[in-house]
Each structure stands twice: as structure tokens, then as C-alpha cells.
Symmetry: C2
Subunit: 614 residues, 2 copies
């Protein structure tokens, strides 16, 4: 199955159109302005000298690269001369400052010129990867190939130094990214050498110990503990890991490499069954921004970086091409509606780097009592920019290209993976999807007169026991395979799918210690949470039972549909100011739950996804 | 009120007699042998040279000091020539190696002679304090005053250097202990100068910033953030803190110092109402072995050092002299039956340093996934000796002197604080206490014919709503004040107190996040726990309701009375190998709970005090 690119998709009115509007009209400028203020654009002038302020950082190239890629995705759909002009200026500076041998990196040209290719953790190949992705996207959007040529020249150098001569101080990137970028470049240019280089980096990884001397962490941090084809458990820095796994899946598909496919499936299973938060967040510890061990899913201390949830979507969307299985679409959906989207504020102006499933001020107080903690409790404060500001431009490019995840097709079938109002060009003609999902239950799909073949609709995991499917008004009897409902379409048709978007309680596997005795509430793909701004302080004192005791309510302030659930609140009245009591009392209460993606948009407050359960 | 010393108490058959037997016949030798193997006794020869093995550590003096004090407490009750001979040998070496000016410290004479009194965190005054306590105890037990004289000579030097000349590189001890030791020395010798010096250290503390340069921690760690009389919240290293607070309480009492008393009451309240585990354990974080913030009581990562629980008893027993209030006796009882006693194995051969309320192998797995963590999850393994082996000889001296906590008296009243079978000499004649407490509910007390006055019995917090009290067979109508039942006794009488030792569920204040939705089970003063060796893996999958569904059962292997409670176990069958499910199933089960003090005596296993609650 091949994916249908967002380039062939027009997003229609609805949930994601609103997000794209905020993204294209606000977030893209907010990110740009913060990057300008912090010197990231000026850095491309290569004029920084010792003693000056705003010293370029080793990953600034990649920050601007993702911003350029975001701009490209936006102008693919609508002209934005102001943004395009600014990109052209950056590209001109790149051309001017590219080294004669093709090398392009701000930090290692301007700040530490002697240290080129000397430490695998210094993000050089990572920056090259992001600049390559940006160059491809910008060429696709505008037809301008200057940046593409700059990057091809640089990548020729990288190919020579790393693959042909093997003369750098390290052999594979410390932060993976270039692998999947090279595959994109190959698909754009048709030049096989880029695919070869991507495969080279994957073949070479883990073949020898590659941890910089005195480094604080192990080779697992870099996914270098084993050859890629022998990696069956997700390890180390979770963004690096999933960028690598995405690259592995690309190469597995391109080369029909069974050993790589086997590793990819095992890695996905390990994340899906043992290491993924309900929100689609991954990376259980701030220490190494890393995966830890199976079933270890602390809520308050979840690292769950926005970039990691995005990286998981990249990985899952490639797996989806390898095998039609609703688990992949389920993960993409879970991440995009929750652990990714929580990364940007509703107004598009500020961001989370970490997206934990719980903020409790009582726990954060502990940060004061336990100094220099490696895993501090995160603060419920969205920031306009970060020192390491990888997440904001990652989310802008993700939202701008959300159309990438809607459809796929193969010789017989068009697959609908995600329910987003849109018009999608397929080889069988146009498909129109119209829905209020996720707040509405109904999805209406219409096909062209030219459509002959199968339509396969993903039945989300939450709805597998109840859904209604009609074709041209008649109840359909689809064939269900791996979570997809297959129906035959012959010409212009209207298909209606009604999903089960009633609020549901979710429980965690008993092996997840942190969620023992707790329950989360979901509605369709949305994970809900309780905030103290609605429910008072001390969210752990709340207790809820069945979702039968709930109703939904529009929330105009947040633009959400909230869930109001009857529950009980443990009172102080038996404790007499002390810690322990032989009796406890509850008082009845109503608890307002809002979608997780909308959390912490009304100032600092406490928040929790997993509530104490009756 | 003054305490009645263990020297005037003969422990009778029962719970604590058994512990004292194991302590005096096994533990004292086990500790001695481990200390001998590791070179701690040989260190007193002052023969260590650079390049030799078994380099003395800065706190080895204190390890042997506490062992000597333990021996003194044991031989106070029964002759032990072998132990006494060994102490005499150590004291002879002390005499031989004391420096001409009185200084006595192994490390700073043998290993780093130039660094005497140069860093307040290097435990010199702490060692001096423990050696002083040992000298007093050994003199009391044997009448031999050699060690006492050695220490007085050393303390004269300390008095000169610190108080008179103020010429050391620091002003107050980094690890408090000498304060309370000096008060003991004053009470033994009657020499006011020792009390003055103790008061000096307390008056001086916190008057200026005293943190060694580049030190990892703040002045709170050393309780030096404020003058003692302005300290109202328990802060920093919890053993240091409670040794200090005990010394403060001593000085407050001796000088009738209202400001110090006020601080002591506030500090006790802060611990009692906000920072104490159900087991009487204190110190919520391994980082700094320290108190953190109110209501922060993590179970698995509880530091709860054995020494800290002992230190809390020292503090509470001094507070008890300041005010008759059952809260103090409740804390002493809670700690001694739980968080202190868990520190030694049932066979007296191995020890816990940390006494967390939960061990889960699934959490410990995280130690592997999160390298170099400052707060690793503790291992459920008792050790025979530690590099820093303060706890083993602390528990030997504590158990040997348990008689210290039974009674007190003032001009009108004899107070019975703890229910331990014993014969107690009071100024009103002998009192005999006979009980199977804590496994039995009844306490029988008899007084001499000479007894005229009031007898005050502590009514433990767990029994305040139900107890039966008779005097000479007739129901008594005691006056209840601050948790004590006062009765008038006129001559030889028998008093019977029946307490409510039925199993009870205990709940934590809703502000304690970690215990939300959980319940602990207690029986009398004993806190119970579930172990995986009895209940299978995955203790967090267990759920219990009311204690009405329970029975008790003798456990011959452990010598305990266990609680068997009906509960439910969350099954895997709705999860299909995955993490999340919309349904959950429980299966009924019986859960065996054993007393916390008996945990981890049958090999490594999981253990939890706070179970998920219906």
C-alpha cells in the first residue's frame, strides 16, 4: 500500500481545518518570531564571533529547517509570499556560506571549525537530515531547487566521508533523522545513491561500540547497542529511536528486507504493548529523554516529548504501508489527537516540550525539597520558545501535513485511515470525506463515478464492538480484516460510517503499577483529563465509577465538548489535620473532564488523566 | 515528667523479650563480626598507612561507639565477660592513641592528619558524640570510667576550639549528635560545662551560612538555614534533623527555654501531621536522605532509614517529657513496632538501611532503564553490613534499651507509655506489667502496696474509641486528658486495660497523592503488608475492601499473627496482551497480610503496605 500524500488532499472544514488555520496564521509566525529573537535566523549569516551574544547552538540549523519545511507545507496549499521570501533569504545565505567542499553547518563552521564530524552526539547529521527534508518540501511546493542542490552537494560530501572513506571520528549519526530524509530525497530526485546512503547508515549502526568517551549514557541511548536487524525492543532516546525506526521501515519497504521488517514489527509491538501512554506519548523518563522498561508508565514524570509522539506517528505511518492493520492507524490517531496536539496551546502561541499525563502542584513542591533531581516533576507552563526548541517547528510541520495520514491505496483498494473532512485524489478518482469527528460520530464518504474497487475503512479500536456502516443508504456487510471494513464500490456512492463516540472508561493493564486502581475516560479517539481550574485542588481526592453517570457539554471557552461525570470527593473531615485516619468520608460531586489536548490553556493548574476508580 | 530509665526496668516475657534475646545473643555478635571483618576494630590501633587495605572511614569511630553502647546496655542487665573484655580492649587502644591535646579521631589522625576540624560534613563531632554516649553507658553499666575520662579530655578540647576560641573552620556540627550526647554526659557527671557546650552548639547553629564550598546541597540539609529557635518545619537529612531536635528538646527542658520549646513542638507537629509514614519512618527522599515537603510520601522511593525512625523516637521521647500527650507515645510505638524493627531481620543477622513501604520488581526494573538515578528504587535485600553501617549498631542499642520508653513519672503520677511486659521501679514502688501485646489485647498492671497516687495509661490512637479499663475488677471511670487515662490507685491494685486490637483499615489524607485510592491494614500498633511470596506477583492488581472480611492466623514460620483478608485480583483477561482495555475483570482471592516488621524475611520478593482500595 502506498500513502496518499497531503499534496493530493484538500482538508475540508472541521477539527483539523481549524488547527491548520491557527497553525498557518499564528503558530508559524510565532515560531518564526521567537527564532528571530533568539538569533536563529541571523545565525545563517555565519557572522557570529567569539564574545558575541546569541552563540549558535549545534541544532539551530534543524530548528530553521523544520520551520522552512512547515512553510513549504503551508504554501503547497496557499500562496504566502511573505514566508516564501523569508525562506528564499535563508536559502541565499546557505548558498553563500556553504563551504567549498559542500559542508554546511553553522556551529561547526562558525563556532568550532576544527571539530567537524568529530562527535556523533553533536547533531551534524541530524541537522543535515532536517535541512534535506526542508529542501525536498520546498522544492515540491515551489519548484525552486536551490536548497535541494545545496543539500545534494553537502550529502555528496557526507556520502564520501562516511560511506566511501569512512574517515569521520564516528560511523553513524548520534541523533538519527538523516536516514528517513535520504529516503525522501531519493523519492524526490529518483537518485538511488541517497537510498544507498540511508541503507548504509542503517546497516552500519550497532556494528561497533559508538559511545563518545566519558559520555553519561549507554549505547542504548543512541540505539547502537545492537545491529538494527537485531533490535526488537525500543530503547534509549525516544525521538532518536522512532526516527530511526521510521528510517528502518522505509528501507525495509524499499528493499523488501525481511530481517528489517521483522525488527520493525517487533519494535512497534514493544512500544504498542508495553511502552506507550494512553495519549500516544512515548519516552517514560527525562533521564535520556528515553524509553525505560515495559509497563513503566509514570504519569507525572512522563517525559512524552511532543517530538516523540510525532516520531511515533512517522514510524506507525510507515508500518501501515507494510501491513494493513488498524493498530497503526489507532496509534496515529491516538497520538495526533492527544500527545501531539497537547504540544501546542489552543491559541497557537505557546508550547509544551513534555506532555505528562498529570500535573500536581503537591508533587512539584517536591522539586524544591529534592534539589538537582534528574527527573523533576514538570511545570504546567506552556512556553513560547525553548533553548532546545525542536518541538514547536515539528508541530507546525506536522499539522500542516496532517493530510498525509488520511488515505492510502494499492491496486485493488483505497484505504481510509483517518476520518478528517477532506477531498482526496486517488487513482480511482476523488473521494470526499465529511465529518464532525472527533466530536461527531458520523463520517460520510462519497466516491466518484469512476470508482470501481474496494474501499477499506479503519474501524477504530474504541468502536470495534459497535459501528454502523451503510452504502447508498443500505446496511453494508463488510468483510473485516485486521480492523478494516472492506466494501465494494461501483461508481458514485455514498458511504456512511457511524462510530461509537460515547464516553468510555479505560483501564490499564495490571502490570502498569502507576495506574493501579485508576481509570481514564475517553470519547472516541480523545483522551480526557480533569483540571483543578474546573474541579478544585487535589484531583487525587476525586473518585469516579462507571461512565453511565455522565453527560457531555459544549465548552465555548475551549471550543471542546467536555464530559461531566458524577463522582465522589474524599473529604478532610475524618483526618483532623493529620495524615492518617481509620474512617474516610466522601462527598458527591460532578467532575468536568476536558480533552487532554486542551489542557493547561487557562493558566497554571493541576491536571490528571488517570482518576481514582471506584 | 521524667522518664524512667531502662536501668530501672526488667523486661518480662513477651514480644520485646524475644527481640532482646535475639539482639543480645545474635545481633550484637553479627554486628561485631562484620565490623571486625571490615577493619573497624583494627582501626583503633591507629596503624593504617597509605597503600594498606581497609582504610578507616570518617564515621567508623561512631560505628564502634554504638556497638560499645549496645554492649553496655546489654551488660547492664546480664554479665557478658566476652563482650566486656572486647570493649576494654578498644578503650585501652583509645587511651593509647588519644593525642596529647585530647583529640581522638581515627581518620583525622591516621589518614588525613592535617585536616582536623576543617570540614563540618566530615563527622568529627558526630563521632565524638557517639563515643561520649558510649562512654556514659559503659560507665553506668560497669563503673569503669576510663573511656569517660578519655572523652571528657577530648570534649575539653572541643569546648576550647569551638566555644572558647571559635578557631575551627566551622562552628557547629554538620551531623548533629554531640548535642544530645553532651546532655547525657552532663546528667552522668553533673558537670554543667557539658550542658553549656550543648546549648552553645544549639544557640550558634544557623546564625551564619555554613555550607562547605561546592557542596551539593543546601544549608537545609544541615538544619543550618535558620537559628534553631526559628526552625518550625523539619528540613534536610532526617537523622541529623531528629538528633538535633532531640538535643533541642533536652536543652529546652533543662533551661526551660520557651522559644526552643515552641520550635520543638512545631517541628514535631510538622513531622507528625505532614511528613511521617504510617510505619513511623521518616525521610522521604534518598536525595540528601532527607525530608522533602508536606504530604509527599512516596512508598517505593521512601528513604525511611532505620536510624531516622530511631532518631524520631529519641525526639518524641524527649517531647513526652515536655508535655503528656499520647501523640508522642503513639509515634514511639508506631516507629518501634514498624519502621525501626523492620531494620533487622527476624534472625538478627541482616539489616535494612532503607525501609520503604513498597518493593515492586516492576519498578526496580526501571533502575536499569534509568541509569545513574539519584532516587533508585530500593532492592528488597537485607545486608549483613553496609559501607555506611550506622543502622545495625543503632538498632542493637535501641532494642537493648527498649525499657527506656515504658514509664515516666512526676510528683503525682506514674505514666505508662508503652505496653511491654516488665517490672518497673518507680518512686512509688514497683509496677508489674504483663501482656501479650501487640498480638494480645489485654494489659495487666499491678502496683505495690506502697503506691498512692495516680496511674496514667496511654490510650493508643487506634483504640481511643474503644477500650475497657478495670481497677481491682471494677470498671474504672478514668479522667481522660491528652490521650491518657488517669486513675487513682491506693495501695496494691490490679489494673486491666483491654485495647481494640482488631484489624483496621487506615486511609491517608487526600493530600497524600501516592496513597490516593489505597488502604493500609493495621492491627493494634502493627502495620501490615502483603508480600508476593504469599500473594503472587503483581501486588498492585489486588484490591481490598472492609476489614470485616478478614480473619487472623498464626504464622509459625515468622512467629507472627497474620491477617487473611478477602479481596479481588485484576486479571489480564481483558487486555489481550496489551496496555489498555475498555473492560476489566476481577477474580476473588484471599490476601495474606503479615506485619511490616517481618517483611522480606523469606528471600527477595515484592511487598506493599498500601493496597488498592474498593
Amino acid at each position: 500500500m502506498k500513502n496518499i500524500s497531503f499534496r493530493d488532499v484538500a482538508i475540508g472544514d472541521g477539527f483539523w481545518k481549524d488547527r491548520q488555520k491557527t497553525n498557518a496564521e499564528k503558530t508559524i509566525y510565532n515560531v518564526r518570531d521567537r527564532f528571530a529573537e533568539t538569533g536563529r535566523f541571523d545565525a545563517f549569516r555565519f557572522e557570529w564571533k567569539d564574545g558575541m551574544e546569541k552563540k549558535p547552538h549545534i541544532f539551530w540549523d534543524s530548528d530553521i529547517a523544520k520551520w522552512i519545511e512547515s512553510v513549504a507545507f503551508i504554501i503547497e496549499k496557499e500562496p504566502r509570499p511573505d514566508l516564501e521570501k523569508q525562506v528564499d533569504e535563508v536559502v541565499d545565505l546557505m548558498e553563500k556560506n556553504q563551504q567549498p567542499d559542500g559542508y554546511f553547518n553553522i556551529y561547526f563552521t562558525v563556532c568550532e571549525p576544527g571539530k567537524r564530524f568529530s562527535n556523533r552526539d553533536w547533531h551534524e547529521l541530524y541537522c543535515a537530515g532536517h535541512l534535506t527534508e526542508a529542501a525536498v518540501a520546498y522544492y515540491n511546493a515551489t519548484g525552486k531547487d536551490k536548497m535541494l542542490k545545496i543539500m545534494c552537494k553537502y550529502l555528496d560530501l557526507i556520502d564520501r566521508v562516511f560511506r566511501v572513506e569512512d574517515s569521520a571520528a564516528f560511523h553513524t549519526p548520534g541523533h538519527e533523522e538523516i536516514e528517513l530524509a535520504l529516503v525522501k530525497l531519493y523519492r524526490c530526485t529518483g537518485e538511488k545513491k541517497w537510498l544507498n546512503l540511508a541503507k548504509y547508515f542503517i546497516d552500519r549502526r550497532g556494528m561497533q561500540e559508538e559511545v563518545p568517551e566519558d559520555y553519561w549514557c549507554s549505547s542504548r541511548y543512541f540505539q547502537s547497542h545492537l545491529p538494527c536487524r537485531e533490535q526488537f525492543t525500543a530503547e534509549g532516546h525516544s525521538v532518536r529511536a522512532c526516527y530511526l525506526y521510521a528510517g528502518m521501515a522505509d528501507i525495509a519497504l524499499e528493499y523488501d528486507d525481511e530481517a528489517l521488517k521483522k525488527a520493525c514489527f517487533a519494535l512497534f509491538d514493544d512500544i504498542y504493548n508495553k511502552k506507550m501512554y494512553l495519549t500516544g506519548g512515548i519516552g517514560q523518563s527525562a533521564v535520556g529523554e528515553a524509553f525505560t522498561v515495559p509497563y513503566d508508565l509514570p504519569n507525572s514524570r512522563a517525559y512524552t516529548e511532543t517530538c516523540a509522539a510525532i516520531a511515533l506517528v512517522y514510524f506507525a505511518s510507515r508500518m501501515q504501508k507494510m501491513k494493513v492493520d488498524s493498530r497503526f492507524g489507532d496509534v496515529i490517531e491516538r497520538a495526533m489527537f492527544n500527545g501531539v496536539l497537547s504540544g501546542v496551546s489552543l491559541d497557537g502561541g505557546s508550547f509544551f516540550y513534555k506532555n505528562p499525563l498529570e500535573f500536581l502542584h503537591a508533587e512539584r513542591e517536591r522539586n524544591k525539597g529534592v534539589p538537582k533531581q534528574q527527573e523533576p516533576f514538570p511545570e504546567p507552563v506552556r512556553q513560547r520558545v525553548f533553548d532546545c526548541s525542536c518541538c514547536p517547528p515539528n508541530i507546525t510541520r506536522f499539522i500542516a501535513s496532517i493530510g498525509d495520514y488520511i488515505c492510502g491505496e494499492d491496486e485493488n483498494t483505497v484505504y481510509i485511515h483517518q476520518y478528517i473532512s477532506s477531498t482526496v485524489k486517488t487513482s480511482r478518482g476523488e473521494i470526499k470525506i465529511k465529518t464532525d469527528y472527533p466530536y461527531g460520530a458520523e463520517v460520510d464518504i462519497s466516491t466518484d463515478g469512476s470508482f470501481r474497487g474496494k474501499l477499506a475503512l479503519r474501524i477504530p479500536g474504541f468502536s470495534k464492538d459497535y459501528y454502523a456502516l451503510t452504502v447508498n443508504g443500505a446496511k453494508a456487510s463488510p468483510v473485516i480484516e485486521n480492523g478494516y471494513a472492506y466494501i465494494d464500490i461501483d461508481g458514485a456512492s455514498t458511504v456512511s460510517l457511524v462510530l461509537d463516540t460515547a464516553p468510555k472508561a479505560v483501564y490499564a493493564n495490571p502490570l502498569v503499577n502507576e495506574d493501579a486502581g485508576r481509570v481514564a475516560v475517553t470519547m472516541g479517539p480523545l483522551v480526557y483529563c480533569a483540571e483543578s481550574v474546573d474541579n478544585g485542588e487535589n484531583l487525587r481526592a476525586l473518585k469516579i465509577g462507571a461512565t453511565a453517570d455522565c453527560r457531555t457539554e459544549k465548552n465555548d471557552e475551549l471550543g471542546t465538548t467536555d464530559i461531566i461525570i458524577k463522582g465522589r470527593r474524599l473529604t478532610q473531615n475524618t483526618f483532623d489535620g493529620g495524615l492518617y485516619a481509620y474512617e474516610r468520608n466522601y462527598e458527591p460531586c460532578e467532575i468536568r473532564l476536558i480533552p487532554f489536548y486542551a489542557c493547561i490553556n487557562r493558566g497554571e493548574c493541576d491536571m490528571t488523566v488517570w482518576l481514582v476508580s471506584e
